[in-house]
């Protein structure tokens, strides 16, 4: 059997690794559009900020591929798939046949149609090549457009390098997908306290400068700068899948076995649209742990197991300097379009803040800052177990005064949340 994997990212390599663990004979071929071995895009901002060296970004080197007996072809961007002939064509004209094909080419950076976006001094922070350019760039004032996870981490990295940093976010608060407004406002205040200027609810109209960036014009102000970082999100790459007539929505559509609509073609990672593990709605969580889990499912199904994916979930954390925050699952804003009774639990003490979102008495999401974040794993556990919080809250008072050690996570949850608010 020959397995061809398109994409040399986290999910592509995880498929190869999981396959190789169990099948020593299978021929595995990875086609990479880039020229470097596998690296971890999550660590690029830390490389940018100088916390780590370049070598630590890489997860593998060339010898590792040989040792695992995996063929790796760099500079081979796949342009089309022929599912009947079972072969793929690369941009340098090579045709490669396959028995099973895995699409793991990930997403592309969304470049908003802003005037001047191609000027020198405009960078992104998603791929190795771009980040290296930004790292070697010498500037003093930077504007980060977009405040997703990449934007926030890039802003912190640039601040560490001594830049004056501005973040511009189109929506009402920073990290709009991952955090609710009250949490995000606290984070904003923490960032302002560390000298990062945050402008929310502003639209970038154009980037000034003829060839080199000299400033950014928004609908409220004009910021002089010599560096612009575009972090406006990642869109799944669906163009390749369309050449094989695979059904696509926002991303490549897959079933619970991570198969696409065309037989013998699987997809995983940033390029697929999956469903939420709690609510079952179609979502896109382009996060590392989802990519790894999907890749493991793909590898098992290729080897003939019948394994179903349990669904994606959001988990992210942000930290700048000494403020730590974590989030998982759904935000309160996202529950507004869900059926069922949603409930919000908020706890606050000093700078620490906790927010848990319940839907019909079950935990479906939460956010925490400071010391509350240390216990957020217990809530994630409760989310997976689908614990009925209403029932538990009734029980917490009845737990015997001593003993009952087996239920300590629940007792701890009870301590944090407090008794039920009757009303």
């Amino acid at each position: 059997m020959k397995v061809v994997i398109i994409g040399n990212g986290i999910s592509g390599n995880q498929v190869a690794l999981s396959l190789r663990e169990r099948a020593k004979e299978t021929e595995i071929c990875i086609l990479s559009a880039e020229t470097v071995p596998e690296y971890d895009p999550c660590s690029l901002p830390y490389f940018l900020g100088g916390s780590i060296e370049k070598k630590d970004v890489f997860k593998k080197n060339i010898e590792d591929y040989q040792q695992l007996n995996i063929d790796i072809m760099f500079n081979s961007k796949v342009v089309s798939i022929a599912p009947e002939a079972k072969c793929v064509t690369t941009d340098n004209g090579l045709e490669i046949g396959y028995d099973k094909l895995v699409l793991a080419h990930g997403g592309d950076l969304f470049i908003p149609p802003i005037e001047g976006i191609r000027n020198a001094g405009v960078f992104s922070c998603k791929q190795m090549v771009e980040t290296e350019k930004l790292e070697s760039h010498n500037g003093r004032r930077a504007v980060v457009i977009g405040s997703g996870a990449i934007g926030i981490e890039a802003a912190e990295a640039l601040k560490k390098k001594g830049y004056e940093v501005h973040i511009i976010e189109l929506l009402g608060w920073i990290l709009p997908v991952l955090f609710d407004e009250p949490t995000a406002r606290r984070l904003e205040a923490a960032m302002e306290g560390h000298g990062i200027h945050v402008h929310t609810g502003e639209k970038v109209l154009r980037i000034k400068g003829d060839t080199k960036v000299t400033g950014v014009v928004t609908d409220k102000r004009e910021i002089e700068c010599d560096t612009v970082v575009v972090a406006t999100g990642v869109v799944p790459g669906t163009a390749l899948a369309k050449t094989a007539l695979i059904e696509t929505g926002r991303g490549i559509q897959v079933n619970r076995k991570m198969e696409t609509t065309v037989s013998d073609i699987y997809a995983c990672g940033d390029c697929v649209e999956t469903f939420d593990s709690c609510t079952g709605e179609v979502v896109m969580f382009q996060l590392k742990h989802n990519a790894i889990e999907q890749a493991q499912i793909v590898a098992k199904n290729i080897l003939g197991d019948n394994i179903k994916y349990l669904g994606a979930y959001a988990f992210a954390r942000v930290h700048f300097f000494n403020t730590h925050a974590a989030t998982f699952g759904k935000t309160m804003r996202a529950t507004e379009c869900l059926l069922g009774k949603s409930e919000l639990i908020e706890k606050e003490s000093g700078n620490d803040y906790l927010r848990v979102v319940l839907l019909d008495g079950k935990v479906i999401g939460g956010q925490a800052i400071g010391k509350y974040a240390d216990a957020i794993g217990l809530f994630i556990g409760a989310m997976w177990r689908k614990d009925d919080m209403d029932r538990l809250r009734g029980k917490w008072n009845k737990i015997p005064q001593s003993g009952a050690a087996y239920s300590w996570p629940l007792i701890r949850l009870g301590q944090i949340i407090g008794p039920a608010a009757h009303g």
Partner: protein, 156 residues
């Protein structure tokens, strides 16, 4: 590693042994064990890395610093850990300890290079911690029950 919270008195001998083993100092803050005190239940719960089979911390670490050892435990590679605490937040029991001096996380490695076994187990005077095979617990209970029925029915 088997932990029995009902026997734990919260004396912190295990924390001292752990910091002595891994850092060479007596400093409970540097131990890789946490003792969670639940006052309302009169319980002390030693929280140790459970080395999950499908460990979520390995998946979420942005630096791939959480590494599975040959003895099954998962430890943080301090060369690349950038102290983002993702592993603390995703952990279902919140077990990784943040080193107060370097800000990096640490978890139990079962004292892997020590033939004497985990130091916390040696240090614990209450027998709240011990090392056993995964099925030894059920076997032990079965043997105890068999012994009890033997006492009742000595001739069968």
């Amino acid at each position: 590693m088997l932990v029995d919270p009902e026997k734990c008195t919260g004396c912190q001998q295990c924390l001292i042994a752990c910091s002595m083993k891994h850092h060479g100092t007596v400093n409970p803050n540097l131990a890789m064990i946490k003792i969670l005190r639940l006052e309302s239940q009169e319980l002390n719960i030693p929280v140790i890395c459970m080395a999950c089979d499908d460990a979520p911390c390995i998946k979420v670490c942005p630096m791939n610093a959480r590494v599975r050892q040959t003895n099954g435990t998962v430890v943080t590679n301090t060369d690349v850990c950038i102290s983002c605490r993702a592993c603390v937040y995703i952990c279902p029991v919140g077990s990784p300890v943040v080193n107060p001096y370097t800000d990096q996380t640490m978890t139990c490695d079962m004292c892997k290079d020590d033939e004497a076994g985990p130091w916390c187990v040696i240090a614990c005077r209450e027998g709240a911690m011990r090392v056993c095979e995964s099925d030894a617990l059920t076997k032990g209970v079965a043997r105890e029950r068999a012994g009890r029925s033997r006492a009742i029915y000595p001739n069968n």
